[in-house]
Amino acid sequence: MKGLIQEQGPIALPASRVGLWVFLAVVTSLFGLFAVVYNMRAEFPDWRPLPDPTLLWLNTGLLILGSITLQRARSVSEKPNLNSLKWSLTTSSLLTIGFLFGQIIAWRQLASSGYFFTTNPANAFFYLLTGLHGLHLLGGLWFLGRANLKIWGNVEIYSIEEIAHLRLSVQLCSFYWHYLLLIWLILFSLLLST
């Protein structure tokens, strides 16, 4: 099921990079609109802010570390020896999975202290925004997971195109991770501020 373009090696590089930029514009529009709506809805008198779980700080730390390790993966991916790439890619994936688990635990903590989805719009927004952000990370993990499978495979037999493709996916993943980290930091400050 390969189309015309995939087999053509390095030339596909700029297209997928531009594709990612366009996609991030869509993501920006989505989260930006949510932020606007959040602020508008928060002005209504029935808004009851919920306590922000301390766990979120830890999760934020994990996500920052995930972004840093992925940036490291990006810089070592330029080197001819791809061995050092293995560990930074995997660490970054594990840190991200850790973040996602942490978010689920934070949800459970809130739910067990009675802050359910429907009790107040503040709660609903909390679950909705964290969930949506998590889904975007999950989508990124799918691509990062494929890069992981690739790098832990038999690298010696890869063609130049395959290695170039691998480097590109590491670059694009790291860009996407930084962007989602930025979105998370904005969301987090939004959640803290109300």
């Binding site: 099921m1 390969k2 189309g3 015309l4 373009i5 995939q6 087999e7 053509q8 030339i11 596909a12 700029p14 297209a15 997928s16 531009v18 594709g19 366009v22 996609f23 514009a25 869509v26 529009s29 989505l30 609109l33 949510f34 709506v37 508008m40 809805r41 209504f44 008198p45 029935d46 808004w47 989805f117 429907t118 719009p121 609903a124 909705l128």
Partner: protein, 586 residues
């Protein structure tokens, strides 16, 4: 990196060989375009039949009992939503966007063919989900195509059980499909143009589709956000939009939400949506007019900047749909001003179309007739838009047939005329056959005169104060007998227009079977899609070598040239210099 022609290297083109990979799970942009078009036109026919059913009720309230009041609202809602989103958006961008972008830019395919295929299948899924709402208990939603809460999800509104949920789901799936397609359209235009195809040498069709896609990518998220939140309000009982209220005499669980918030989100999508439909139409009509008038488009650069300006302005006018919801007078003033400002680039385009025709060598072919018809309907629809853009004029007219007349003229009839112009214009390239000219002309005159007889009287009914959204008027003092008569006349015209569309389908089927084999370039057009080695173009579009572009696509009737058109691939030094570099503005 714009000129790196990705296919200019020796590669195996991976031609699909089985029926399944060639026509069903195809990644070829031309097949996907046709899949999109067939699906969109089929679902559009459903919406057309719905409109006939409720028109019969409106024209002859006592003679037909085809629809009950609930069904009337359901059919009106489905008619609106299907026509705007599932027909026009899908056909312009999924259909023509897919077909024309690679061919007009000189690419072999979209840059992400697999994503492109997924886009179609998600679109088909969204249509199936939408259509399935006809078969759930309670039927489809009758909330009006704007789906305003609280009414759309409160008991008493038709389709509140299943219909509204399916509608929201279907919209969400459609948005996912559109995003996948849109990523492709934008990236292909930016990255896969042939060597020499600068942005300012792109046909206006591509400019229109390109800017409309960007609008869609930025505006559809607003509908997505609104859909998620409305879905949660309906299904698990959050109160994003739902205020504290009584429904059917009982208090509801809801409280504190803001219905106005939904309206802002909806129209932040809804107004750019008008231009998502209009901009590709503007672009395509420009190309059709220029080819059949044998003249370059007047003021090409101005036309491009007008498209971009309209696109940008369309994001700051949304609240003119909400004057009646009530707002700070300064907001009303702001939005009325921006709305009137958008008329400037729009009027500029209209002048340029007319100046393109001025002293041209007009060939009144079928596509040309439709394109000229568009200029008429668009001017009429656009002028009434100027009325409605003013708060004080909008308030009394908003709930009347004036609004129905206005937007059907400007975003119903006008884009549909362009769609027909485009279908007739590119039919020879898409199918390799010529259509029947006589049938096409008959189709045009019935459609143009018919739609005028539907929508022009509606303006009069509106000024009379005839309210829209009513199932039947009964005996009402201020509605004279003549208005009822006019309503009956509108219904008869609608039936005739619908019947006239059979001419189109007969023409398509007849031409596919028996039509004359088409010349590769029957209109003697200069843009790239007419220069493919095969007609219809094969997988990969260009044979062994990609085209190289040396001039803009509007070199018609160039003085001193041997032919009355110079294809974009003819080098600049062969006889005549490329024209847009000589004289940029017309």
């Amino acid at each position: 990196m714009a000129y790196v022609a990705f296919a200019d290297r020796d590669t195996h083109s991976h031609d699909p060989d089985t029926f399944l990979t060639k026509y069903i799970w195809s990644q070829d942009h031309k097949v996907i375009a046709i899949q999109y078009a067939i699906t969109a036109i089929s679902v559009g026919l459903v919406a057309l039949v719905l409109s006939l059913l409720f028109r019969l009720q409106l024209g002859f309230p006592d003679s037909f009992s085809l629809v009950k009041p609930n069904e009337y609202y359901q059919y009106v809602t489905m008619h609106g939503m299907i026509m705007v989103v599932y027909l026009l958006t899908a056909l312009f961008l999924g259909g023509f966007g897919n077909y024309l972008i690679p061919l007009m830019c000189g690419a072999r395919d979209m840059v992400f063919p697999y994503l492109n295929m997924l886009s179609f299948w998600f679109y088909l899924l969204s249509v199936i989900v939408l259509m399935s709402s006809f078969f759930v208990p309670g039927g489809p939603t009758g909330a009006g195509w704007t789906l305003y809460p609280p009414q759309s999800i409160s008991p008493g509104t038709p389709g509140v059980d299943g219909g509204i949920v399916l509608m929201i789901l279907s919209l969400a799936i459609f948005i996912v499909a559109f995003t996948m397609g849109g990523l492709n359209y934008v990236t292909t235009v930016l990255q896969a143009r042939a060597r020499g195809m600068t942005l300012m040498r792109m046909p206006l069709s591509i400019w229109g589709i390109f800017v409309a896609t960007i609008l869609g990518l930025l505006a559809f998220p607003a509908l997505f956000v609104a859909a998620i939140m409305l879905f949660l309000d309906r299904v698990i009982g959050t109160s994003f939009f739902m205020p504290e209220m009584l429904a059917m005499g009982n208090t509801t669980e809801y409280g504190g939400g803001s219905p106005i918030l939904f309206q802002h989100l909806f129209w932040f999508f809804g107004h750019p949506e008008v231009y998502i439909v209009a901009l590709p139409a503007f672009g395509m009509v420009s190309d059709v007019l220029s080819v059949h008038a044998r003249k370059n488009i007047f003021g090409y650069r101005m036309m491009v900047w007008a498209i971009v300006a309209i696109g940008a302005l369309s994001f700051v006018v949304w609240a003119h749909h909400m004057y009646v919801s009530g707002m700070n007078p300064y907001f009303g003033f702001f939005f009325a001003t921006t709305t009137l400002i958008i008329a400037i680039p729009t009027a500029l385009k209209v002048y340029n179309w007319i100046l393109t025709l001025w002293r041209g060598d007009l060939h009144l072919t079928v596509p040309m007739l439709f394109a000229i018809g568009f200029i008429f309907t668009f001017i009429h629809g656009g002028l009434t838009g100027l009325f409605l853009g003013n708060v004080t004029v909008d308030l009394p007219l908003s709930d009347t047939y004036f609004v129905i007349g206005h937007f059907h003229m400007v975003m119903g009839v006008s884009p549909v005329l362009v769609l027909f112009a485009a279908i007739y214009h590119w039919f020879p390239k898409i199918t390799g056959r010529m259509f029947h000219t006589g049938l096409g002309k008959l189709h045009f005159w019935f459609t143009l005169i018919g739609t005028y007889s539907i929508y022009l009287p509606m303006h009069y009914l509106g000024i009379l104060g005839l309210p829209r959204r009513y199932f039947a008027y009964g005996d009402t003092d201020f509605i004279p007998e003549s208005a009822h008569l006019m309503n009956a006349g509108i219904t008869i015209a609608a039936l005739l227009v619908a019947a006239a569309q059979c001419l189109f389908f007969i023409n398509v089927i007849w031409s596919l079977a028996k039509g004359k084999k088409a010349d590769p370039n029957p209109w003697r057009a200069a843009s790239l899609e007419w220069l493919t080695p095969d007609t219809p173009p094969k997988h990969g579009n260009w044979g062994a070598e990609l085209p190289e572009v040396h001039r803009w696509p509007y070199d018609y009737s160039v003085p001193g040239a041997t032919q009355d058109f110079i294809p974009q691939t003819v080098p600049a030094n062969s006889g005549v210099a490329p024209r847009n570099e000589q004289e940029t503005e017309g």
